[in-house]
């Protein structure tokens, strides 16, 4: 069943002024419970505007957003509940840390939900574990931690609310390759434990290829495509034309195809490329 659905969602900034701009144009899509979704689109494509609708930070100019089958704007008073069900982690979330200790910072969201101390503690320990934050860190000031640790604390704060849908806006921005892999690994761990729906916004197709069940691509305020990872990568050429980055291995195989060496399938991960080539080469007699 669809946990999150948009019906002909349109959002216009500064309507009626000279700066009027349609940021999201008639987008209809369904996200199923438990899915891991990659969200792509260049700056200005409307992807951030779109995801800000998912937890009611923006109200559509027209169209609807359904959460668990219910229109989130049907009753304005219930919008707070929507924000508990759909957690949004912004870019560079470490700038939003404010508490004296890591424990208190992670506890902020769950506390606002009105949970009791015992439950809050349980959730903090669970999410800290998912994110590889050692227990002794919990009583330290978050401002004494490294950048990567701070980011994980900020993400833990939203995860501890156990939202049915978790949206992360470029959680790996500015990290080195090892840091990127680490954060994505922690998010996967959380996903395996909770089976909650996760949306990750990323510019890196290489990262997305590693985790997403489906990929949502926005272009010029419209839904460019929303399909299984393989099918989206099969359109690598078009995707590269709308200003997104295609993995280098994909480009290599596109070049080979141009030159008449067609392997039939599209390639987007290193692992697959390596195995495919080794197999084909050994069919030709090996080394």
């Amino acid at each position: 069943m669809a946990i999150l659905e948009t019906q002909e969602l349109t959002y216009v900034y500064s309507e009626g002024s000279p700066f009027q701009k349609t940021a999201v144009d008639n987008v209809s899509l369904k996200i199923n419970e438990g899915e891991m979704i990659g969200v792509m689109g260049h700056t200005g494509s409307g992807k951030s505007t779109l995801i800000q609708h998912f937890n009611g930070l923006l109200k559509p100019t027209s169209g609807k957003i359904l959460l668990d089958g219910e229109d989130i704007w049907a009753d304005k008073k219930k919008i707070r509940d929507v924000r508990f069900k759909v957690g949004l982690v912004f870019q560079y979330p470490e700038y939003q840390i404010f508490e004296e200790t890591v424990y208190k910072d992670i506890a902020f969201g769950p506390k606002n939900m009105g949970l009791d101390d015992k439950e809050i503690k349980r959730r903090i320990l669970e999410t800290a574990n998912d994110l590889g934050l050692k227990e002794e860190l919990l009583q330290r000031s978050p401002f004494d931690l490294s950048g990567g640790q701070k980011r994980r604390v900020a993400i833990a704060g939203v995860m501890a609310m156990n939202p049915k849908v978790l949206i992360l806006d470029e959680p790996t921005a500015g990290l080195d390759p090892a840091g990127r892999d680490k954060i994505l690994g922690h998010i996967k761990k959380y996903h395996e434990r909770t089976k909650n729906t996760i949306l990750i916004v990323s510019h890196s197709m290489e990262d997305i290829a590693g985790f997403a069940d489906r990929i949502l691509v926005m272009n010029k305020a419209k839904l460019f495509c929303f399909d299984e990872t393989e099918k989206v990568f099969a359109r690598a050429e078009e995707i590269s034309k709308i200003g997104l980055d295609v993995p280098q291995v994909t480009k290599i195989f596109l070049k080979l195809k141009e030159q008449g060496l067609d392997f039939g399938k599209d390639v987007y991960t290193m692992e697959y490329a390596k195995n495919l080539l080794l197999k084909k080469l050994s069919e030709r007699g090996g080394v």
Binding site: H42, T43, G44, S146, G147, G148, A173, G174, L175, D176, P177, A178, G179, H203, E206, G243, L244, D245, P247, Q248, V249, K251, I252, K255, L256, Q259, L261, M270, A273, K274, L277, L278, K280, L281, R284, G286, V287
Partner: protein, 283 residues
């Protein structure tokens, strides 16, 4: 070619809190950078690469050892402004380095501080904005620009000072692919057309692959210093310190490891496709 930057036996530790031993961030670094070079510094977070960069224009001073730019020691307090005219720095976050509410005023900021006469300033600001393809935005507010455009404004502000070299500390880390391309194109052109020495700190291996020379830092030491082709052929070593190599290099390495005859110095997708085609064409 003569050296523009000379780093000799550079050691650096951040001051420690009471009772703690200082952590040495740079351990005896030696580097010579030639005039007109285009160099990348790679290293994972905490490897000391940003600390090294901040030594080049005297934001940080060595605990021991020396850093000179165009013959001026960074420790020479009297010449620090001279030094900073020669070595300009661009930082990661575009929003942290824009000071004015009008693009051209922002570019003129340093020139105003240097007391450059109006006519000269007008010309330098216009030229710098044209260099980074932002001339038509000269009267805009920086707040309305994209990250890539803001970074190019920051670079224009440095170019207007007519520096010998520019040090860029992860200038594309916060940009989208389009913004990254724009910034890289500008940096490369500054190097090619104006002969400005470039020191580019980056996490993106594809950017490093476009440079003439790559220095890899790990735990405060320089562990590789060579052409990108040579550095990225050490796939295992580079991966062991938490960095990536371009996928073309990695794929070629995997095939070589399996016993196939494929060149060691593959870096671009063209080279890799060519080599793979070659493997399939032989009888």
């Amino acid at each position: 070619m003569e050296n523009i930057i000379e780093i000799k036996n550079l050691c650096f530790s951040y001051p420690a809190d009471e009772g703690e031993t200082p952590v040495q961030v740079l351990k005896n670094v030696n580097l010579e950078i030639k005039k007109g070079e285009f160099m990348a510094i790679l290293g994972h977070n905490g490897s000391g690469k940003s600390t090294l960069a901040k030594h080049i224009n005297g934001i940080l001073l060595p605990t021991s050892g020396t850093v000179t730019v165009d013959g001026i020691s960074t420790a020479d307090e009297e010449k620090i402004f001279d030094l900073r005219c020669r070595a300009g720095m661009v930082f990661q976050n575009p929003d942290n380095q824009i000071v004015s509410s009008v693009v051209e005023e922002d570019v003129a900021f340093a020139l105003e501080n240097l007391g450059v006469p109006y006519e000269e300033m007008r010309k330098r600001v216009d030229d710098a904005l044209k260099d980074v393809n932002m001339y038509e935005y000269r009267n805009h507010s920086p707040a309305q620009l994209s990250g890539g455009q803001k970074q190019r404004i920051a670079i224009a502000g440095i170019i207007a000072m007519k520096p010998e070299c520019i040090i860029l500390d992860e200038p594309t880390a916060m940009l989208d692919p389009q913004g990254r391309k724009e910034v890289m194109a500008v940096i490369k052109r500054m190097n090619r057309e104006h002969g400005i020495t470039i020191v580019l700190i980056t996490h993106y291996m594809d950017e490093a692959a476009q440079c003439g020379r790559v220095v890899v830092m790990d735990k405060g030491n320089v562990i590789f210093d060579d052409a990108p082709k040579a550095v990225f052929s050490h796939v295992e070593d580079v991966k062991a310190i938490g960095l990536d190599v371009p996928q073309a290099a990695e794929l070629a390495w995997e095939l070589r490891k399996a016993g196939y005859d494929i060149p060691q110095d593959i870096l671009t997708e063209d080279e890799c496709a060519e080599a793979i085609k070659h493997l399939f064409e032989r009888e």
